[in-house]
Subunit: 338 residues, 2 copies
DNA sequence: CTGAAAGCGCTTACAG
DNA sequence: CTGAAAGCGCTTACAG
């Protein structure tokens, strides 16, 4: 009922000017110690909170970071968001979140909304549709408005900005090689996120490993449960596949589920390695060996990069942070000799 | 480089007043059709975007909803957030997210930050520490500043505001009764979220079911893996427990994992029902029967309630929406006769 | 040490 | 139909 208290009201009560109140609350050395005390007491008494809109308008900084993620349900993205939120808060920044839902249009809207909201910086992982269409015009706004931008995980060389990624290609290559080393004869690649940058990279890494060892390449796009069934009925048998690298966690779990239901033994009949490191893969029986995408670290790094830009600590050239991923050895793979 | 365009600059180029530009962009009927066209064209040409800080300061509305969740990693909360974000966007609101990390202090900070940010409304699920200590003083600020508030899932009768919950007590009672009906002789209650409102309610519902049927009550608080091992070594045998109601998904999974590792059969030797409805329980082998907490719906309802308040569509009295949860029958329970 | 004034970028009565 | 003016709640040179 009593509603917001303003500097003006405090100044009236104390019979001093608004300027004095403002300076006192900001601990300006211009103001006498005694006045500072009086002002602060009254402010606390009235639960005074500044109006950030007014402050920001004046200071031309909102201490807010805008974040656009393609989805929030895959644990990878909620972990990154956790990293972003925690780090941003520690550095005194708020976070406004938009979810693009893998849609180019919603990503565009998100960018406009966030620029309008005067965010000091942006952290974005590209929508699948955006990457499929290769449509990046909407990022011109970002550079025109001179807003520091960090891309993570789903990135593109077509946008000139700071980036955070893991070494997807190299990790996929190593994981594939490890499967062969553990005794697999025919290793396939599964993905439900085709056309994303990370999928391209991982697939390429997989292919490189196969080429190096003169192995045949088998890549599959899977979307529905039937795709899995079909795979096991035909390709799995025909190609004698006994190892699979999977580009995302949920797909890896669905794959293993189908295999187990069909009476296959993991990792004896079929070895599996997944990407990302989620609770689901960790607790599944059999537990999933994974390339840890270091979600939390990606979030933290992205914040550090964007804040460095905002606060002018980075010189001109774009920075690309390529985190070294770690392989987590679990039950879905046979012992791998170093 | 070129940086933000303002009304003033547009007005200079067109040789009209700032007021005219503003009105034209807002499609005011005061302005001639021709001028409107000219203004809009120039605005588009220059990628003009309004400064929301200035607009909000004037209009005293930010069309922003502040959200505080205790955690984001449990899928329940990221699903709710997804519901909130989607619905809020559809209604033209932005979302600022704070994560309290189950800490009272961070919850307080979050509230101050969000009030300072002039959010039009708040959606909060209480931190565990807040509920444990029963410390709700920081909510006085919210009512003093007259900010519409909706509590969801973790709520308290001590705060007078709109609420969204599921009927935790009744659902727990029904689930427990169902376990007995399916043939269980001794049903226990497991929780890793003790002292939260939802835990209290679910425990109470469990107890009611036991009392109704003259069954003994066994409640356990579990935090570590050892707790599970200890349980199976002692209590499980001593009490001949063959059914367990679990207050959260992860605990249910860890419980089943331990049971399966010890060679028990689910649901033959042990039936399990969990709360929340996550991907993990769905895909676990054996899949988990659950009370669906309707995460997405809770988020949507919370937004509707808070927006109704913001836009003055609700009269005085607090509204409590109590969603009917649905039971999802899966493999972790024996067939339950109606 | 204190205060008057200008201004951040908008919107909106009000006058013409 | 257009524009001058006031004001949203702050901050910050500048004067005194």
């Amino acid at each position: 009922m009593e509603n917001k208290v303003t500097l003006k009201e405090l100044s009236k009560i104390l019979n001093v000017s608004i300027s004095t109140v403002s300076k006192a609350l900001n601990d300006s050395s211009e103001i006498s110690h005694e006045t500072r005390q009086r002002v602060k007491e009254l402010a606390k008494l009235n639960n005074y909170l500044p109006n950030a809109m007014a402050q920001n308008l004046k200071k031309k900084s909102t201490r807010t970071i805008g974040v656009i993620i393609p989805a929030i349900l895959p644990q990878f993205f909620s972990k990154v968001l956790h990293g972003i939120e925690t780090r941003a808060n520690k550095l005194g920044y708020k976070v406004i979140v938009c979810i693009s839902n893998e849609s180019l249009e919603k990503e565009k809207d998100g960018i406009l909304t966030l620029i309008t909201s005067q965010v000091d910086g942006l952290i974005i992982s590209l929508a699948r549709e955006t990457q499929t269409m290769g449509s990046y015009d909407h990022f011109q706004m970002v550079s025109q408005y001179n807003i520091p931008l960090v891309l993570f995980d789903r990135v593109t060389s077509q946008i000139d900005c700071d980036k955070v990624i893991i070494q997807d290609r190299e990790e996929a290559r190593k994981a594939t090689a490890a499967l062969f080393r553990s005794g697999c004869k025919n290793v396939a690649y599964f993905s439900a996120i085709s056309h994303t940058s990370v999928d391209n990279e991982r697939k390429r890494g997989y292919e490189m490993a196969c080429e190096n060892l003169n192995k045949r390449i088998f890549t599959y796009t899977v979307e529905t449960n039937e795709d899995f069934d079909k795979f096991f009925q035909h390709e799995f048998i025909k190609r004698s596949i006994d190892g699979i690298l999977v580009a995302d966690e949920l797909t890896a779990i669905l794959l293993m589920k189908t295999a187990l239901k069909r009476g296959l033994q993991i990792p004896l009949d079929l070895s599996v390695i997944g990407f990302a490191n989620g609770t689901m893969g960790e607790h599944f029986i059999t537990s999933l060996s994974v390339v840890d995408q270091r979600a939390m670290d990606q979030g933290i790094q992205a914040v550090d990069l964007v804040v460095d830009r905002i606060e002018g600590r980075t010189k001109e050239d774009p920075v690309e942070v390529s985190l070294e991923a770690t392989f987590i050895y679990r039950e879905s793979t046979r012992l791998i000799s170093a």
